[in-house]
C-alpha cells in the first residue's frame, strides 16, 4: 500500500460552473501533501469530496486501496476552512461530543482529551464556554478536535489562518510530529512558506483544472529561472564585469547594489554549474555559489497568471 489516497478523474459540476474538471492525483502514504490554488479554484470542493461530504459527479476515490465509503469517516480528521464551535457549550463537552461522533468511547475520548490539552498546555480551558475564548484559542481547540481520534488521514484546510507566528510554529511542529508517527496529511493553504517547509508533494488547482502535480523539489527545479548568486572575497570592479559580459554574452550579469562583493548571473537557457563555474572564477575568489530556485510563491503566481494569459490569447 503506497498511496493513502488515489483520486482518479474526478469531475464535479454545479449549476453554473464546473468546480473540478477531470482531476487525478495520488497522495503517498505518510507524506504531507499540499493542495494549492487561488480562491475559488475548487479546493474546498475537492476536500469535501475526499471527506465523503459531497459525492463527485464522476470519477473515483480510493482510500487505502478501497473505494471511499462511510466507514472511512472515522479514519479521517478534517479541519475545514469555515470552522466553528458551539458557542454556549463548554470546551470539554464539545470535544467529547465530537470525538464520540468519530467513534471513540467516552473513556478513550477523556484520556485523549487529557493528553492533548496537557500537550498544548491549555487544560484550564476545558470548563470554559467557547464564547469566552479568543479566536486563536478556538483554533487550537479545533485543531485538537481534528487530531484527537488519531486518524490515519488528516485534512487541514487553511490551518494557519488566525494564528500568530508562535502558535503557527507550534502547529507546524505538531503536524510534522503526526507525520513522523505515520499519519498522512493533506494540507490546503495559501501560506507558501509553510508549503515549502512542510510539503513533500503538491498539486496546484486553478479554475477546476490540475495545473501542477509532483514533488516540491522537482517542481522548483523545473521552474528554475537559471539564476545564480555568487559572493566573492573582494569587491568586483565594474570594468571587470563589463569585460566578462562582453566575452560571455549568453549570460546576463549584474552587480548587487548593496553588496559590491556579490553578483548575480542568469540565462535564458539551462546552465550547468560545471560550465559556469570556471568562467566565474576568472572574476575572483569565490566564497559562496548558489543556484537561486524560485519560491513556491513565485511558481504559484507565474503558473496561475500564465494560465490566465493563455486563456486570454485563446
Amino acid at each position: 500500500m503506497n498511496n493513502a489516497i488515489e483520486v482518479s478523474n474526478i469531475t464535479k459540476k454545479y449549476r453554473e460552473h464546473t468546480a473540478l474538471d477531470n482531476v487525478s492525483f495520488a497522495v503517498p502514504n505518510g507524506s504531507i501533501f499540499g493542495i494549492l490554488g487561488p480562491n475559488g479554484a475548487g479546493k474546498t470542493t475537492l476536500l469535501r469530496i475526499i471527506n465523503n461530504i459531497i459525492p463527485p459527479d464522476s470519477g473515483e476515490i480510493l482510500l487505502y486501496d478501497e473505494p471511499l465509503s462511510d466507514k472511512h469517516m472515522e479514519e479521517i480528521g478534517y479541519l475545514p476552512e469555515e470552522r466553528g464551535l458551539y458557542k454556549k457549550m463548554s470546551v470539554g463537552d464539545q470535544v467529547l461530543y465530537l470525538s464520540q461522533l468519530k467513534g471513540l468511547s467516552q473513556k478513550e475520548a477523556r484520556e485523549k482529551i487529557n493528553y492533548w490539552f496537557d500537550k498544548l498546555d491549555i487544560k484550564s480551558w476545558l470548563g470554559r464556554k467557547v464564547e469566552e475564548l479568543s479566536k486563536g484559542m478556538q483554533q487550537k481547540v479545533q485543531f485538537i478536535i481534528t487530531v484527537l481520534h488519531s486518524p490515519k488521514l488528516l485534512i487541514f484546510d487553511e490551518p494557519f489562518s488566525g494564528f500568530d507566528p508562535i502558535n503557527a510554529d507550534i502547529l507546524k511542529n505538531e503536524i510534522l510530529e503526526l507525520k513522523d508517527k505515520g499519519a498522512t496529511v493533506l494540507l490546503s493553504t495559501h501560506n507558501m512558506e509553510s508549503v515549502e517547509e512542510l510539503c513533500d508533494q503538491i498539486v496546484l488547482v486553478n479554475k477546476s483544472k490540475l495545473l501542477l502535480y509532483g514533488e516540491v523539489d522537482e517542481i522548483k527545479r523545473k521552474f528554475s529561472k537559471n539564476y545564480f548568486e555568487i559572493t566573492f572575497a573582494d569587491p568586483i570592479d565594474d570594468e571587470k564585469i563589463l569585460n566578462w559580459q562582453n566575452n560571455y554574452s549568453q549570460f546576463v550579469i549584474s552587480k548587487n547594489e548593496k553588496n559590491p562583493n556579490t553578483i548575480s548571473i542568469s540565462a535564458d537557457i539551462p546552465i550547468k554549474s560545471s560550465e559556469l563555474l570556471p568562467l566565474i572564477l576568472q572574476l575572483g575568489e569565490i566564497i559562496t555559489y548558489r543556484e537561486q530556485l524560485p519560491s513556491m510563491h513565485d511558481i504559484f503566481v507565474s503558473v496561475v497568471q500564465q494560465k490566465e494569459v493563455n486563456n486570454y490569447e485563446k
Binding site: R15, N51, N52, I54, P55, Y78, P80, E82, R83, Y86
Partner: protein, 444 residues
C-alpha cells in the same frame, strides 16, 4: 461504523433541556394551567362574602322582589333616607339602596350608596329584581294576576343526544366546542413551538460553522434525524411534566384549602305537576334532574367521549403534525443564513396553520360541511382541525383518510427536507430561490 444517532439525540436533547428558558417555561406552564382552574374557584369563593344592604323603599312593596342570597343580604329600613345613609358611617351596612316613590313611573330613579363599590353581580341582581317586581306591578294594573304569570312562564331547554345504532348518549355541543378548541390550540402551539426549535438548532450549527465538522463524522441525514427526534422527546418531556405538575398543584391546593373546593348544594327545584299525567310529570322530573347541577349535563357529555382514544389521536396528530412542520422548518433553517430570509420561507407554510385556527369557529358551526372536510384532510391543517372535530364524532372514513394523507405527506416532506438540508447547510450567501431549491431536491 457504530450508530451515532443516540449520541446526537442525547446532545441535542440535553442542549435544550438544560437551557434556563426551557426550565422556566416548563415550570411556569403548570402554574399558569393550574391557575386557570384554581383562580375562578377562588374568586367565586371571595364573592361569597355577603354584602349587607339596607333598603329604604318609599313605594312600600317593590322591596318584596329583593331576595337575600349568598352574595347579598337585604334589610328593610323604616327610616328617612338621610338618616339611613348615616348608618353607613356606623358600619352597620355595606350599602344603602334607595327606592323613591317616583320609581313606579320613572324606573331610573333608584340610587345606591356604599363605602366600597358594590360588585357588578350584586348590582345586576338588584336591577333584575326591581325590574321584575315593577313589571308584575304594571301587569297587575292590567288585571293579570301572579298565578297567570307563573303559568305562562316557560324555561325552554333542548337536551342534546347522539343516536347511533339504537344507542343514545347525552351530548353537548358546548362541551365539544370547548374541548375541540382547546385541543386544537394545543396542537397548533406545540407544532409551532417545537418546529421552530428544530429550525433554530439547524440554523445555529450552520451559522457557527460547526456543521461541516459534524457531517465529516456522520451522514447529514443522521444529524437531521437526531435533531428532529431529540426535539420530539423534548416536547413529550415538557408535555408530561406539565400534566404531572399541574395535577400536583391542583391536588396540593385542594389539600391545603379544602373549603375552596367544597361542593355547593344546588337549590332544590320544585316541580309543578298540577294538571299533568304521571308520564309527563316523570319527564319533567328527569329534565329537572339534569338542571339540578349545571355541570351535570357537561360531565355526562364529557364521559361519553372516548378519552383514551382521544389521547391516542392527539398523540398521533401531534407527532405527525410536528414531523411535517419540523422537517420543513429544518429545510428552511438549512437553506437560509439570516432571520429575514427565514421569515420569507416560513410564511407560506405557516399560513395554513393560522388559517386552521381561524376556520375553527365556522367548522364547529357546521362540522360536516365541505370546509370542515377539506381542512380535516389537507395535511397542513388537519392536525389542528381534526383535534377540533373529534369531539363532534367525525365519520370513520374521514379520520382514516386524514391520517393516511398526513403520514404520506410526512414521507414526502422528510424526503424534500433531507435533500435541501444536505446542500443547504454548506451553502452560504444569497437566499436561494424556489427554483434553486427545486434543483437541490432533484439532485442526486
Amino acid at each position: 461504523m457504530k450508530n451515532k444517532l443516540p449520541i446526537i439525540i442525547k446532545r441535542e436533547y440535553l442542549n435544550i433541556v438544560k437551557k434556563t428558558s426551557f426550565i422556566v417555561v416548563t415550570l411556569l406552564g403548570p402554574i399558569i394551567l393550574a391557575s386557570i382552574f384554581i383562580i375562578p374557584i377562588y374568586i367565586s369563593h371571595i364573592n361569597e362574602e355577603q354584602t349587607s344592604i339596607g333598603v329604604v323603599d318609599e313605594t312600600g312593596f317593590i322591596y318584596k322582589g329583593l331576595q337575600s342570597n349568598a352574595t347579598a343580604k337585604y334589610t328593610l329600613l323604616y327610616l328617612p333616607i338621610d338618616s339611613a345613609k348615616k348608618l353607613l358611617d356606623k358600619e352597620e351596612y355595606d350599602a344603602i339602596l334607595y327606592i323613591p316613590s317616583s320609581f313606579i313611573n320613572s324606573p331610573e330613579t333608584p340610587r345606591i350608596w356604599s363605602k366600597n363599590t358594590v360588585s357588578q353581580s350584586v348590582m345586576d341582581n338588584i336591577e333584575s329584581a326591581l325590574k321584575s317586581e315593577l313589571e308584575k306591578h304594571r301587569l297587575a294594573l292590567y288585571g293579570i294576576n301572579n298565578q297567570i304569570l307563573e303559568e305562562i312562564n316557560a324555561d325552554v331547554r333542548v337536551n342534546n343526544y347522539t343516536y347511533k345504532g339504537g344507542v343514545e348518549k347525552a351530548a353537548s355541543s358546548t362541551v365539544a366546542t370547548i374541548l375541540g378548541f382547546v385541543m386544537a390550540i394545543i396542537i397548533y402551539f406545540f407544532v409551532f413551538m417545537y418546529g421552530s426549535m428544530v429550525l433554530r438548532s439547524v440554523m445555529e450549527e450552520k451559522l457557527n460553522r460547526i456543521v461541516e465538522v459534524i457531517i465529516s463524522s456522520v451522514k447529514s441525514i443522521h444529524l437531521l434525524i437526531g435533531k428532529i427526534v431529540a426535539v420530539l422527546l423534548v416536547g413529550l418531556t415538557q408535555f408530561i411534566t406539565w400534566i404531572i405538575l399541574t395535577l400536583l398543584i391542583i391536588i396540593g391546593v385542594q389539600q391545603a384549602f379544602p373549603d375552596l373546593f367544597r361542593y355547593a348544594e344546588p337549590e332544590a327545584i320544585s316541580i309543578q305537576t298540577k294538571g299533568l299525567n304521571p308520564a309527563e310529570a316523570q319527564q319533567l322530573a328527569n329534565a329537572a334532574k339534569l338542571q339540578e347541577s349545571p355541570t351535570n349535563n357537561a360531565l355526562i357529555a364529557l364521559s361519553n367521549i372516548n378519552i383514551p382514544m382521544y389521547i391516542l389521536l392527539f398523540l398521533f396528530y401531534f407527532v405527525f403534525g410536528y414531523l411535517i412542520y419540523s422537517t420543513l422548518f429544518a429545510a428552511i433553517g438549512a437553506a437560509v443564513d439570516n432571520q429575514d430570509d427565514t421569515n420569507q420561507f416560513m410564511l407560506p407554510i405557516t399560513i395554513p396553520l393560522i388559517l386552521a385556527i381561524i376556520s375553527l369557529q365556522p367548522i364547529f358551526n357546521n362540522p360536516t360541511g365541505g370546509v370542515s372536510i377539506f381542512f380535516s384532510l389537507f395535511p397542513f391543517t388537519s392536525p389542528v382541525v381534526m383535534m377540533g372535530l373529534i369531539p363532534f364524532n367525525p365519520p370513520f372514513w374521514l379520520l382514516i383518510t386524514s391520517m393516511i394523507i398526513l403520514v404520506l405527506t410526512f414521507v414526502l416532506s422528510a424526503y424534500i427536507s433531507a435533500k435541501i438540508y444536505r446542500i443547504g447547510i454548506l451553502t452560504y450567501g444569497k437566499r436561494p430561490s424556489y427554483k434553486e431549491l427545486w434543483t437541490w431536491i432533484k439532485r442526486y
